[in-house]
Structure formats: structure tokens, C-alpha cells
């Protein structure tokens, strides 16, 4: 009983000890904030990767792919139909996307994924990423979504983009007409019949192509990542960042890739139908979706059968599971049935293994470093406890003279350490959770106070800082901090316990 009473009194009268637990509090709070933000980023990142890749991917080993996607999909449905909620066939190749800027072509290496929108929508939340389905902030104004979310994924332009395209086409037609007239006039004047520019202009980019049939879309249709479509620049004077749209829905771009079989360059002109933003710069600046038929055609992935029908090829099948927990079972079944010579069967995590492992390693190293901070706090407690034991030597002698046992005296200081640890860890958990809860307000305040954006959306792609509080981590951190406080009080407590009563009482 006296142990509790004395602990409580020491806690109340020794503010220096409370100061020592501020470092525990700060350490715990930092660990919780950092872990929550990292977990937030991590889970957002995983969600996006999973959304883009789908749950399970069956890839052909050859870039030529395999024929008959319908047959394979049917086979998968027969094998693991009860686990899956969607499956789609795609062709994935490397390509170069070139768009015209200031009269020049600007090339970009991209990963081209050819999809069938209807079935792709079943395996991943592509609609969540396409910008025409979401309201956008443009120059500080909110522009309402152009499509309602009930509209199925397709390859058509929105009315606004269509109007822009037609307007542009009209403008080019007018300038072309004007040029034509001028040329005709010049020819008349000079009598020169051969003009080298006349021929080249025929196939020169969007202008000429839309000239033929004004406003009509190309056969190739694309969704382009925002990282490709826009260009962010920071004004060196005003420090204001400004976004330039290099590619807008309705524009035509050129896609260069290679054919199946013996690789040979192939290109096609395609109309950008929409832009998408996943929040993963990896995807937003590298990934381009196009319509499957077009790519199969361009790459020569169509086999004409003798009976007049045709069979197309695919390079991967994306599978969405009803419950991701079934993945190991499904993988096992699929691996057993699709020969490893021709097919690679993986979950999205296995595909992204190194990246996810890197993130895990990063977070555990950070945790170790942060835990060292708490250990430092532990040494603070150790020093202050020694001070308190020295200061309390006489009281310890009195307690022993009144019959308190060594273990009783020791437990006073251990309980004291425990209480300090609990107060420190509790306050730390409170501060940490509050910080995480209000992190976006705090971010805004810091931005306002320092005049520098702490978390620019344009760099991190997220409007808000994502956080994820894992109760297990919080408990673990709090427990660790309490343990350190207790361990730090063991030495001083032992010292106190081994004092002899008279020795202690003589301390006058």
C-alpha cells in the first residue's frame, strides 16, 4: 500500500521526473505519426498497384502472346470460377508515345496496355482513376465531373472534348484552306508546279489527319496517365506551380511499337479519350491504355482461320478474386493447369515483390532508429531515477526501519518507473493520434505559417496526407516505451533496495 501511495506522491511532487518522460512522450508520438503516415502511404500505394495490376496475373512468356483469349478465360472460369469475380485479357508491350508540341514531336517511352474496357472494369477500379469521372480542380476552381459514374467505361469522348476536337479540326481546316489558296496563288505567280512541302504536309500530325474527316476519331483510342499528359513547372519568381496540359482528351497522338513475331516497328495514330490519375507516379507517367482490337491489329496478333473466322492473341490475363485470401489456392490451381513453359502465374504482390520489400525494409529501419530515441529517453529516466534514489536515501532508510522489505522498496521505484512510462507512453499515444487525426490541418497551418507548401499535391499526387493507424503498432510502441522506462528504473531501484537502514538514516 505504502508503495502505491509513495509512487503517487513522488509522481506529483517530482516535476523533474515528468520532464524526463516528455522525451518518452515525444518519442512515442513521433513513432506513431511516422508509422501512421508510412502505413497510409503504403496502403494507398498497395491499393493503387493492386487496382492497376488486378489480383492475379497470368502472363505469357512470349511477347507474341497466345491465341484464343476467350478459350483461356473459359478455362480459368472452369478451374477457379467460384473464387473469381472477373477476368480480362490484355496485351502489354513497350511503346513510344509521341505528341506534337510547338511543331515538334515529343517522344515518351511508355508501357502500353491494350484492354477491353467492359471486362477491365470488372478486374480493377479504372473508373476511380479516369479524370472525366471526377470533378477536377483547375486554376483553383472546381470543375464538375464530365461523366456520371454510372456511365460504363468506353472509348468515346466527352461532349466537351468532342467540341474542342471539332473546333480544332475546323481551325486547322481553315488554315489549311488559307495555305492552299496562298500556294495556289504563288504557283500562279511563279509558275512553279513542284512543291516539296505539299506532299509532307499530307501526313503531318493531327492537322492533316483531322483534315480528312473533321472531328472523326481515330481508330486507336487511348487513356493516358496525367504524368504524361501534363507538365508541372514552378515559376522561379512567384514560386507558384503551374500545370501545363500537353495532351488533352480529344488530341491525337502517335504510338510507335513493334510487331509480334520478328519485331518490326509499327505505328498508329490514336485519339486520347481520357486521362487517368492513380496517385502512383510510376503508373501516371508511364502507363497508357489503348483499345485491344487496334493493338492486336497493328502488331499482327490476328490469325485468319480457314473458315473465315479469326483468332486473336493476348499477352496476359488479369484476374480479380472475390476474396484475396484465396489467392494461394487459385495460384496453385492455375500453375498446375497452365504450363510453366508458356505462362507465368503470379499475384500482384509477387509481381511487385522488390518494391514492397523495399518499403517494408525502409519502415523497419525507420522504426529501429525511432526506437533508439525512446531508448535515449530511457537513459534520461535512469539518470533522474538515480538522482531521486540519492535524494530519497533517508526516506528509504525510514521505510526499512519501519519494516519495509528490500523488495518492497525496490517495487516502489519499479512502480514509479512503470507509472512514468505509462504516463509518458499514454500522453505520447494521445499526442500522436491527435497529430495523425489533424495532420492535414497541421499541414495547412504549417504551409500558411511558413509560406511553403509542405505537401504539394502535384509532387505526391495525394490531395490529403494518407494515414493509417494500426492499433497493433500503437500498442507495440506504447508497450515498448513502458518496458524501457521500467528497465531504466531497475538499476536505481536495486540500489535503493540494497541500502542498509542505518546507512541510509545517517544521511543527514
Amino acid at each position: 500500500m505504502y508503495k502505491m501511495l509513495l509512487c503517487q506522491r513522488y509522481l506529483r511532487t517530482r516535476y523533474i521526473a515528468l520532464a524526463s518522460i516528455i522525451s518518452v512522450t515525444l518519442g512515442v508520438a513521433t513513432m506513431i505519426v511516422v508509422n501512421s503516415v508510412m502505413a497510409g502511404f503504403g496502403s494507398e500505394m498497395r491499393a493503387r498497384i493492386q487496382g492497376i495490376l488486378s489480383d492475379i496475373i497470368v502472363e505469357t512468356r512470349s511477347m507474341n502472346g497466345e491465341f484464343d483469349p476467350e478459350g483461356h478465360m473459359q478455362r480459368i472460369r472452369e478451374l477457379v470460377g467460384k473464387y473469381i469475380s472477373g477476368v480480362t485479357a490484355t496485351v502489354e508491350v513497350h511503346a513510344i508515345l509521341s505528341y506534337k508540341s510547338l511543331g515538334d514531336y515529343v517522344p515518351h517511352p511508355v508501357n502500353l496496355v491494350a484492354i477491353v474496357p467492359e471486362s477491365k472494369a470488372e478486374v480493377g477500379p479504372l473508373i476511380d482513376y479516369l479524370q472525366s469521372y471526377h470533378s477536377q480542380i483547375e486554376n483553383g476552381r472546381e470543375v464538375p465531373a464530365e461523366r456520371s459514374r454510372t456511365e460504363p467505361l468506353g472509348w468515346e469522348l466527352t461532349p466537351a472534348a468532342m467540341a474542342r476536337r471539332q473546333e480544332k479540326a475546323e481551325y486547322y481546316r481553315q488554315t489549311e484552306k488559307l495555305r492552299h489558296q496562298m500556294r495556289a496563288q504563288r504557283e500562279k505567280e511563279e509558275g512553279n508546279s513542284s512543291d516539296p512541302f505539299a506532299e509532307t504536309s499530307g501526313e503531318d500530325g493531327a492537322a492533316a489527319e483531322s483534315d480528312e474527316a473533321p472531328g472523326q476519331l481515330q481508330k486507336g483510342r487511348l487513356y493516358v496517365g496525367v504524368g504524361l499528359a501534363t507538365y508541372l513547372s514552378v515559376d522561379p519568381e512567384t514560386k507558384e506551380s503551374k500545370t501545363y496540359n500537353m495532351i488533352r482528351p480529344g488530341d491525337d497522338v502517335r504510338i510507335t511499337t513493334y510487331s509480334a513475331g520478328t519485331p518490326a516497328p509499327k505505328y498508329f495514330v490514336a485519339t486520347v479519350v481520357d486521362t487517368f490519375k492513380t496517385g502512383m507516379s510510376e503508373y501516371d507517367s508511364n502507363l497508357v491504355y489503348c483499345n485491344l482490337e487496334q493493338l492486336q491489329e497493328v502488331r499482327g496478333m490476328i490469325r485468319h482461320n480457314e473458315d473465315g473466322t479469326e483468332t486473336r492473341a493476348f499477352t496476359s490475363l488479369q484476374i480479380k478474386l472475390k476474396d484475396y485470401k484465396d489467392a494461394p489456392k487459385v495460384i496453385e490451381i492455375l500453375r498446375a493447369n497452365f504450363s510453366a513453359e508458356n505462362f507465368n502465374v503470379n499475384t500482384w504482390e509477387q509481381r511487385q515483390g522488390p518494391l514492397l520489400a523495399a518499403v517494408d525494409v525502409e519502415s523497419s529501419i525507420l522504426n529501429i532508429l525511432l526506437f533508439l530515441i525512446i531508448t535515449v529517453a530511457g537513459f534520461g529516466i535512469l539518470a533522474i531515477f538515480f538522482m531521486i534514489v540519492v535524494e530519497k536515501t533517508r526516506d528509504i532508510g525510514i521505510l526499512k526501519a519501519l519494516g519495509a522489505s528490500s523488495s518492497g522498496v525496490m517495487s516502489i521505484f519499479l512502480t514509479y518507473g512503470l507509472l512514468l512510462g505509462m504516463v509518458g507512453a499514454g500522453a505520447g499515444v494521445g499526442v500522436g493520434l491527435l497529430f495523425v487525426y489533424y495532420i492535414n490541418q497541421i499541414e495547412k497551418f504549417i504551409t500558411f505559417a511558413t509560406g511553403r507548401e509542405v505537401f504539394p499535391e502535384k509532387i505526391y499526387y495525394f490531395k490529403d496526407i494518407p494515414t493509417h493507424v494500426d492499433p497493433f503498432t500503437v500498442c507495440w510502441v506504447a508497450f515498448g516505451a513502458v518496458m524501457i522506462a521500467v528497465l531504466a528504473s531497475v538499476l536505481p531501484a536495486r540500489r535503493a533496495a540494497h541500502l542498509r537502514p542505518v546507512q541510509a538514516l545517517r544521511y543527514e
Binding site: 500500500m1 505504502y2 502505491m4 501511495l5 509513495l6 506522491r9 513522488y10 511532487t13 533517508r394 526516506d395 532508510g397 525510514i398 521505510l399 526499512k400 526501519a401 519501519l402 519494516g403 519495509a404 522489505s405 528490500s406 518492497g408 542498509r500 537502514p501 542505518v502 538514516l505 543527514e508
Partner: protein
Amino acid sequence: MSTTIMTSDNPLLRESIAMPVPHVAALAVQKAYRKGEHSVPVLHGVDISVRKAEFLSIIGQSGSGKSTLMHLIGLLDTPDVGEVQLEGQRIDDLPVRTRDELRNRVFGFVFQFYHLLPELSLMENVLTPLMIRHSIWNYWTRRREFQDRAKAMIDRVGLGHRLTHKPSELSGGEMQRAAIARALVAQPEILLADEPTGNLDAKTGREIIDLMARLNEREQLTIIMVTHDKSIAAEAHRTVRLCEGRIETLTDAA
């Protein structure tokens, strides 16, 4: 153990076979304090024994080793030579836990310098021996009874109006009385009082001595008291003088 063999050699004990066994006794205790290489001898073989319900007072010059002797008897320190006995049993070499137990249950100690715990109120200070004796649960269930007991004891030493004061808010005499209340609340068999009236005026000192004498009479409390005050020493049944580390005179009062 060899206690029986030793006691048979001891003249004081042989004598005590005829008399009733002393309640508490120090037999030929020697104590020296080590100061670097030097050894400062304080007690050179002190023999002292107190019967049950006896009131003994010890007088002696300052620095003669009175407090040291009290500490040895109260098991706060161990003698270099000699032994301390309780009811004929050697107690100074018992295991630490048993000695803790004895200090709590058998001895009540009033320190020369009061030694109250500064963080606790007077009431809590007085309750400390009971808190130490009982487990948390036990104490909690009987706390009303204990508090009443402590309150009654504090009233008896005349501090009923100071219950919630901290030691730093009490005068020297009040602290001394609080220390006496603390020593008595646990109902010890033996009270070791090191100058319990040192800081009290004649009237309050007298009251405290009367209280001790009453307890001695009614509750058969054995008392060993150190004092400088001749008139107070005279209250005791017997007075011994400690001089240069030896018991010098034996005066039977009254």
C-alpha cells in the same frame, strides 16, 4: 544452533534462569565505525537486558553511543561482536526478511531526528507501519479501522488538528510527537525511543512521558528510552548510564 551453549557460558543469562527471561537483551555487543583505515570504537561490550513491561531509560554524554546502541537493539544495524536477543532467542543474525518483519511488528522506533516522510501528510506518516505490515488488499478492506486507530493515537499525542499537514508544516515538537504516534500505532511490544522529548517544552514532554508510562503500565509495553533530562529519566523503572562505550551505573528509580 549454538545459542544454548553460548548462553550457558554467559553469567548474565545464567542469572536470568532464576529471573524471568528478559524481554530484550544486548549481550556483550561491540560496535566500531570504520573511517578509512581507522576504526572508531563506539561500544565496547555493552550488556543490557530489559524485562517484559519494564521502563528503562539510558542516559549518557553526547557521542557516547546511545543512538548506536538503540539501532543495534532495534535491528537497524548489526553488532560487530555480541548478540541481541528477543525472549532468549538471538535475533541479530536472522534472515533479512525476518528482521524486517520483527522491526515492523515487535519494535516501535522513535528517532532522535523524527524521520518523517516529507511527501506524506501527518496522518499518512502515522499509517505507514500499518501499510507496510498489510498487503494492499488487506489494508484497503480494513482502512477505516486503521484510520480510526491512527486518529486516536494522533489525538493522544495532541495533534488532532494537524492531520493533513506535511512534516515541513509542523514544528520540531509536533514532528517528534508525530514520530511517537507512528511508533505506537502499530502496537509494538517494545518501544525504542531516542530522545522522545528532546524538542518538547517541559509540559508537553511530561504529557508524552505520562502517555508512555500509561502504555507501559496498562498494555505491558516494554520501553527503552534515551534522554538527557534527569527528571524525565526518573520516570523510568531503572536508569543506566552509557559512558565511553560501557554501561556504567545502574540506578533503580523508586
